[in-house]
């Protein structure tokens, strides 16, 4: 950042030039920014101030007139109105952002109130987006706030809808939605400020297509999963028994049975982590014994379904207990191979245990009230029976009141639903006892089963404030000053660590693509119009071999041509659909082209309209740089999913720094001589700044 010439500083707006000369004013404003402020002129300020609303005085002073007016005109989207979202909305409103849209699907829960300060007790179960809007609006009537109580993944939030915003803020709590917004913002080429917190930790990241790394440039932690045999046959930790209670037993009795829930685990996501039960990994040994065990477990599940029919019957708890804690354990124990190197499980006798709980029956409420204590085996049985009764009563009630046409009602695990939590906690603890595993308190089980992430007001306040500070860089287009900030609450020298925004990863499957928007009339436009007209002619694929996919599968490839005459509508392609073009060229394949389909009016005799110019410069896929041979002949190897190191970073940095040439162009010479240069650059830059 260069110091502006002092003359520029003195011609700062609001002084002698005044706003009457727009061209001059603009010039001086462009030179000005808050890092290099004009000197205040105490004598001149009162006159200048009178021209701006008094309530905007501090923003005007600190941001400077240019940035302040950009903020006032900005139309921004905030996705998520939870912990970060409430703080962010407050900050946006007071910064004077002109129009703020809020999207949140969630409703308000009691456990939100310790930090989501726009919500009160009386708002519980109401829409977060709507309540947040109402609460914030009254503090700045000049700001227009629009609330959408909806899922950001809904089809009507199309790429063109995103494109109408100047900036998007993510204030989300789950991986899936974050990824979705990331993808949409990249397709719309709208900058995104991504943020997140966990306990005292948090971070903020600026995402701009082609300029900074996107959300998916670094692989995210994969969901935690456990092999089914660990859950069903050989648990060794409390979490194994908790997952058993939550994902197996509760579902078998009150939810959708296991087969379906395994298929449907995308629904189980919270905060990006779900506990999948899969057979993967353990089957690789193709062990006969395991195959046999799978068979046995299937039988057990079938038997459970029969018990499920006894819901509400007086002996239901006894039937269930004797099945899962006695008979099944006996059977498991009899498989001697399994217990050669492990302690064999000890089945429990219902009647015997029940006899010991008689004296506890009266103290049921005090047991339930103490969730911090680790319950004894007997206490767990009391809770098991009690929660089972509560759940049974509920499901019977649900069945009575349901429509005949409606599917059978289910009860699914919810960490804030005490009936399900008590049931999972007690059955997990009983199972732990059987396998000689430590029991846990309900408080701890709630955290483990519900993937609860600690959350506090302070961290959210810090992160939301940082989001807006970063948004100023974005609004000024000053990406070189944009930061990726991590809170480092336990570092004694500094409480946050800002880093230069990372470069995009060239092999990122999400942002390392060429985006184009195509307007079509799905009832008229055919796939052939897309393949021949758009791809081969307009985008310049020419004689290249390529594959065209949608979310479901292949629409077109050189051997798969029968869809060509079909109308797009008949192929399920509609407004908001995404199509991906994969170049099959062996030598110099282009990066994938992602087409965003929009429905709209077309000029007469036109079948489509592309957002791009004719024959745009589509970059080539990055080449794999051989580890040893820096100047290697790798041209033939890079035909698709190659993993490259930091090679293109050097290239990109070079081009962004020399005058803002679009990166795409820089990389698309296509001539083989360019490739050599890229590789040489890589030789020099490969080590620098990569992690």
């Amino acid at each position: 950042m260069e110091e502006p010439p002092s003359s520029a500083a003195q011609t700062a707006p609001g002084t002698e030039n005044g706003p009457s000369d727009p061209s001059k004013q603009q010039q001086s404003e462009q030179q000005e920014n808050h890092e290099n402020p004009p000197k205040p002129n105490p004598n001149a300020t009162p006159g200048a101030r009178s021209q701006i609303p008094r309530r905007d005085r501090f923003n005007h002073q600190s941001l400077g007139p240019s940035l302040n007016s950009t903020v006032k005109q900005a139309r921004v989207l905030m996705v998520g109105a939870g912990g970060i979202g409430c703080e962010l909305l407050k900050n946006l409103v007071l910064s004077g952002f002109g129009e703020i849209h809020i999207v949140d699907l969630d409703t308000i829960d009691l456990s939100n109130l310790n930090r989501q300060f726009l919500f009160r007790q009386e708002h519980i179960k109401k829409s977060k987006a709507l309540v947040a809007k109402d609460a914030a609006q009254k503090f700045n009537p000049n700001v227009q706030i629009v609330a959408h109580h909806a899922n950001i993944k809904d089809a009507h939030f199309t790429v063109s809808w995103f494109r109408d915003f100047k900036l998007v803020f993510n204030a989300l709590d789950n991986l899936e939605a974050r990824r979705h917004v990331n993808k949409m913002c990249l397709a719309a080429d709208i900058p995104l400020i991504e943020s997140g917190t966990t306990g005292f930790n948090g971070q903020v990241q600026v995402i701009k297509k082609g300029v900074t790394a996107c959300y998916d440039c670094t692989p995210k932690e994969t969901p935690k999963s456990f092999p089914v045999c660990t859950i069903r046959s050989t648990p060794s930790q409390p979490i194994h028994c908790i997952v058993w209670g939550k994902s197996y037993l509760l579902n078998e009795m009150f939810g959708t049975s296991e087969d379906q829930s395994v298929l449907d685990h995308s629904q189980d996501q919270e905060n990006g982590k779900s506990m999948l039960i899969s057979w993967e990994g353990k089957l690789t040994g193709t062990n006969q014994f395991i195959a046999h065990e799978i068979e046995e477990l299937k039988k057990e599940s079938d038997a459970l379904k029969k018990i499920r029919n006894a819901v509400g019957a007086p002996d239901f708890p006894k039937l269930l207990f004797e099945k899962v804690f006695d008979a099944d354990i006996e059977r498991l124990r009899s498989v001697e191979d399994m217990w050669k190197s492990k302690r064999a499980p000890e089945p429990l006798k219902y009647e015997k245990l029940l006899a010991k709980t008689n004296e506890l029956e009266g103290s049921k409420d005090s047991i339930l009230a103490d969730g911090q204590k680790v319950w004894s085996l007997e206490e767990n049985l009391v809770v098991f029976k009690d929660s089972l009764e509560r759940l049974s009563k509920r499901i019977i009630e649900l069945k009575k009141t349901k429509d005949d046409a409606a599917p059978d009602p289910v009860i699914v695990f919810d960490k804030d639903d005490d009936d399900t939590l008590d049931f999972v906690a007690s059955s997990a603890n009983i199972r732990s006892t059987i396998f000689g595993i430590e029991r846990k308190s309900r408080f701890d089980i709630k955290q483990m089963a519900g993937n609860i992430i600690p959350a506090i007001a302070t961290t959210n306040a810090i992160v939301a404030g940082l989001c807006v500070l970063q948004s100023y860089k974005v609004l000024k287009g000053d990406y070189s000053q944009a930061k990726e900030v991590f809170l480092t609450p336990f570092g004694s020298a500094r409480l946050m660590a800002p880093d230069r925004a990372r470069e995009p990863s060239a092999d990122c499957p999400v942002c390392g693509v060429f985006n184009a928007t195509v307007t079509v009339d799905p009832a008229q436009t055919t796939l052939n119009d897309i393949v021949e007209g758009l791809l081969r002619t307009h985008l310049g694929f020419g004689e290249k071999e390529f594959v065209l996919n949608n979310e479901v599968g292949v629409l077109y490839d050189p051997d798969e041509t029968e869809n060509l005459p079909k109308k797009l509508v008949d192929l399920g392609i509609k407004d908001g659909s995404f199509l991906t073009v994969v170049d099959e060229d062996d030598e110099q394949p282009w990066v994938n082209v992602v087409l965003n389909i929009e429905e709209g009016a077309l000029p007469e005799n036109e079948k489509f309209k592309s957002s791009t110019s004719a024959q745009p410069a589509i970059p080539q896929k990055p080449k794999k740089v051989p580890q040893v041979e820096v100047n290697g002949h790798s041209a033939g190897e890079s035909n698709g999913i190659v993993k490259i190191d930091s090679q293109p970073k050097g290239v990109k940095r070079q081009h962004t720094e020399d005058g803002g040439q679009p990166l795409k162009k820089a990389k698309t010479g296509g001539a083989s001589s360019d490739d050599v240069i890229i590789v040489e650059d890589a030789g020099g830059a490969i080590i620098i700044g990569d992690d």
Partner: protein
């Protein structure tokens, strides 16, 4: 059974409503921290443009402090509405303290809020302190502030040993500093899980040795299953004993001896088995460097032992009594009480549980001994057993914040050092951040008068730290502060409100380690620096 069900009226079950509301934070500071918060009474002395203090208070009201008072004699103007969220159109012309209090208490019905002054002839701060029934737990004030008010505040805070926090936010710049009035011990520092295990391999107690002897009686003839499930603690104790026999009763002490010992353990692993090696031995080998260490007195705890609390109040506080008892325990045994934790390791379940119980029993026994000593010290009769146990469990991680009470840092010296570091940083490149002390200097030049020209700010810096006034970055900081003309930028104050509240929560709950003692924030670069000033 369904019959019973129908008869049983629905009862209040599960965690209380309050526990559910605070669930997400209880997972960080637990019931003990929450109780401390709920019994706290906070004073905010608000001045200047008045947002950063209210933002901080918001972040304390939400998690549930007991009560707060806002002292602020400002009247709400249009400017306030543009920067302070807890004011609206209807607030104009009214007391800022009153309006903010009204909005803040809405955030959490469990918190009591009050405001001051109630009338214009009641504006002497002494009157507020005289009228206050329960002493303040902690005081926050925002700058710029009238010097007379500040000295009254400082006097009260010194007299009552009330931790005092100052915060100043102007434009993109801000800083806050914490004055704890003397040494501030923290028992519950929440150390990293991986750091907490204390296996006592070089000072085992008899029961642990007996257990090891029992398990390894015939170690060479154990079947592969049993041999492959010896816990690493047992393996290491067994081979340490062998080592001692070959080394005149001495344990491996230096690095090369430890490497030799590690090799010996590795050599003892059975490899002629289908798996080709044993996981438990691999764990034992990996644990050598970390766990084969003589029991040490960590420097932080030594600081506690060596500390001479001044005044009679301090010596009576339960912390110092327990510290004295643990010190006596240490002098008696040469080791600290066993913490009782045992990390997960490869072992048969029942063996692991036995081992776990050995550590737990020993920890209980040691804590009992400390408790007995505590009871013998004057003032130790009524100390809570749980407090003694917590002290024993966390002994190695106890931290004495601000041990050098009364020793003031020479500002000029600190600044010189920071600026000298910058010269090195300039050579090192962008990886080494430059000091933020210019921001602190420029802001403190406006501690009592928010609006000042850059020249006035530099003149003040010249007076305090002559060496800094000519520095280019100091000049820029002065210009930036001058440009803000005492106005706050909401986002800067929002960030600071989060950071200040976080430090206050650490101090109120006496959990986690608070910063020492000044944090400077640069909102242009989104970074901060912590300095002892």
């Amino acid at each position: 059974m369904t019959e019973i069900l129908v008869q049983t009226p629905p009862v209040l079950q599960g965690p209380s409503e309050k526990e559910r509301k605070y669930d997400r934070q209880l997972r960080l500071w637990a019931a003990s921290g929450q109780a401390a918060l709920e019994s706290s009474n906070i004073l905010l002395l608000n001045s200047g443009s008045g947002t950063v203090g209210v933002e901080t208070l918001k972040n304390l009201v939400l998690p549930g402090i007991g009560s707060f008072t806002i002292a602020d004699d400002a009247i709400v103007h249009d400017e306030d509405l543009g920067v302070n969220f807890f004011l609206d159109e209807s607030s104009k012309g009214k007391s800022r303290a009153q309006c903010c209090t009204d909005f803040l208490v809405e955030l959490n019905p469990e918190v009591n809020g009050s405001w001051w002054p109630k009338s214009s002839d009641d504006q002497r701060l002494e009157q507020l302190f005289e009228a206050t029934q329960t002493p303040f737990t902690m005081i926050l004030y925002s700058l710029p502030i009238q010097p007379e008010r500040l000295s009254i505040l400082q006097e009260y805070s010194r007299q009552h040993q009330t931790p005092l926090v100052a915060v100043h936010s102007a434009g993109f710049y801000s800083y806050f500093s914490v004055n704890l009035h003397g040494a501030f011990p923290i028992v519950d520092t929440h150390p990293d899980d991986t750091a907490t295990a204390d296996l006592r391999l070089l000072s085992p107690w008899p029961a642990l040795l007996d257990f090891t002897k029992e398990m390894t009686r015939d170690i060479d003839n154990l079947d592969n299953h049993l041999h492959g499930h010896l816990p690493l603690v047992v393996i290491l104790l067994y081979y340490l004993d062998l080592w001692k026999q070959g080394h005149d009763g001495a344990y491996p002490a230096n690095y090369s001896e430890k490497v030799a010992f590690r090799n010996a353990v590795s050599d003892a692993m059975r490899r002629d088995i289908p798996e080709g090696g044993e996981e438990n031995f691999e764990e034992a080998v990996a644990a050598v460097m970390k766990h084969v260490v003589p029991p040490q007195l960590p420097s932080s705890l030594k600081q506690v032992f060596d500390y001479q609390p001044s005044g009679s109040d301090d010596t009576k506080s339960s912390f110092w009594i327990i510290a004295e008892a643990v010190k006596q325990f240490y002098n008696r045994h040469g080791v600290l009480p066993v913490s009782g934790g045992l990390p997960d390791m490869k072992a048969q379940s029942e063996v692991y549980i036995k081992l776990q119980n050995l550590y737990k029993d020993k920890a209980r026994q040691d804590a009992q001994e400390v408790l007995a000593i505590v009871r013998g010290i004057a003032g130790g009769k009524d100390i809570d057993t749980a407090e003694v146990e917590l002290f024993c469990t966390n002994a190695r991680f106890i931290k004495l914040v601000n041990p050098a009470e009364g020793r003031t840092v020479d500002l000029a010296q600190a600044v010189e050092q920071q600026l000298a570091n910058d010269e090195i940083a300039a050579l090192a490149g962008p990886e080494m951040p430059l000091t933020l002390i210019p921001i602190y200097l420029a802001l403190t030049a406006t501690s009592h008068q928010g609006v000042a020209t850059a020249e006035q700010i530099l003149a003040s810096i010249q007076d305090r730290v002559p060496a800094a006034a000519g520095n280019e970055r100091v000049q820029k900081a002065a210009e930036e502060v001058a440009r803000a003309t005492g106005g706050e930028l909401h986002n800067t104050s929002a960030v600071m409100g989060g950071m200040v509240a976080q430090e206050m929560i650490k101090i109120i709950t006496k959990q986690y380690i608070p910063i020492e003692n000044t944090c400077i924030f640069d909102g242009i670069e989104s970074r901060c620096q912590v300095l002892r000033l």
